[in-house]
């Protein structure tokens, strides 16, 4: 009888890495390397960043050839013009990120796509947290070897006369893709252009489209078995 009153476990499984993270964090706090408050602040900061500054960087580059040149030559400096300083808030890099951003320019003959086969290198200061699929062994293992098949699973077919160039991000450089400006966006403002440069376009698994925005309304699916009266 008593067993029935035991609380159910809150999670089914805790991975080794989660245990390691907690252990290292608690040790660091005990040794005074940083405080629990510092940790909370960094976590809150890390979760508040997203892909909008990178979209802005691409939109600006489409409109301003001088800025585009800067973005391709020196991503670190170009980031500052869209409000991202890779050194902040720690003074030596956003938590756990390096400061060498490389922008990969798509052209009519080359399409870039980014992966990190080692684990999850990602330009977080300017793109936010990586999507869950980016960190899966499935994407990491298969993209380097069967890139066109993986891209087609994302719904992206690249013509055979276009070179697909996989960038395996494995050292201190961080990569984002600068897609080509789509047709049908002539006379658009920077704000309008930034809206169609979604996260996936800057990883290279999608192309921007004038009718698709990051904040489009999602389709609503009615519940199959609705609870009556609610």
């Amino acid at each position: 009888m008593a067993d029935k009153h035991k609380p159910a476990p809150m999670v089914d499984e805790v991975s080794d890495f989660e245990v390691l993270e907690v252990a290292v964090r608690e040790l660091a706090i005990e040794k005074g390397l940083f405080s629990a408050e510092d940790h909370r602040r960094f976590a809150e900061f890390a979760h508040s960043i997203g892909p909008l500054p990178a979209a802005r960087l691409v939109a600006k580059s489409w409109l301003d050839p001088e800025f585009k040149k800067l973005a391709l030559e020196d991503g670190f400096t170009a980031s500052k013009e869209v409000g991202i300083d890779w050194l902040n808030p720690t003074g030596f890099g956003t938590p756990s990120d390096y400061c060498d951003l490389r922008v990969l320019e798509n052209t009519p003959s080359v399409h870039h796509v980014v992966v990190c086969t080692l684990c999850s290198c990602y330009p977080r200061p300017i793109l936010g947290h990586s999507p869950e699929w980016y960190r899966t062994p499935n994407y990491r293992r298969r993209l380097v070897r069967w890139p066109r098949q993986v891209l087609s699973e994302f719904g992206l077919q690249i013509p055979s006369d276009v070179e697909v160039r996989v960038e395996d991000s494995n050292q201190k450089c961080r990569f984002m893709v600068m897609p080509m400006r789509p047709e049908g966006t002539e006379d658009w403002s920077e704000d309008q252009l930034a809206e169609i440069v979604t996260r996936d376009c800057m990883l290279g698994v999608a192309l921007p489209h004038p009718d698709r925005k990051a904040d489009d309304k999602r389709p609503v699916h009615k519940a199959a078995n609705p609870v009556h009266g609610h």
Binding site: F92, L118, Q171
Partner: protein, 117 residues
């Protein structure tokens, strides 16, 4: 407690910028043909197995930094140059379809992993 020596070195500059000027002159330049060496990597490496022995072309000379095989053990005294190398996919994966022979893959190496090809 004071911050680690890494944080002190990188503050206000960033990493890898804080290692600028510390490596000997780069041995390779953009356009050089290189082969990836198959060095031992008992403890830690960032050199993927699928590139070992493959030949490619230096696409970018990126920056100076300690090699990850050293930096993982806090040996940061001998930074070296890093290179993004471009491979033909066919060179990495023999079964890669001929119809996509132009497809490429780029990844980055510290200088110790490269030899002239």
């Amino acid at each position: 407690m004071s911050r680690g020596h890494h944080a002190e070195k990188a503050t206000g500059k960033g990493d890898p910028q804080c290692f600028r000027g510390e490596a000997p002159a780069p041995k390779f330049k953009v356009g050089d043909r290189v082969r990836i060496r198959d060095l031992p990597d008992i403890f830690y490496t960032r050199c993927q197995v699928y590139t070992r022995g493959a030949e490619g072309v230096v696409a970018v000379v990126t920056h100076e930094s300690p090699a990850p095989e050293d930096e993982a053990w806090d040996n940061v005294d001998e930074p070296e140059w890093f290179y993004i190398v471009r491979f033909k996919q066919k060179e990495l994966w023999p079964e890669y379809p001929d119809v996509y022979e132009n497809d490429t893959l780029q990844t980055e190496f510290s200088e110790r992993w490269l030899e002239s090809a």
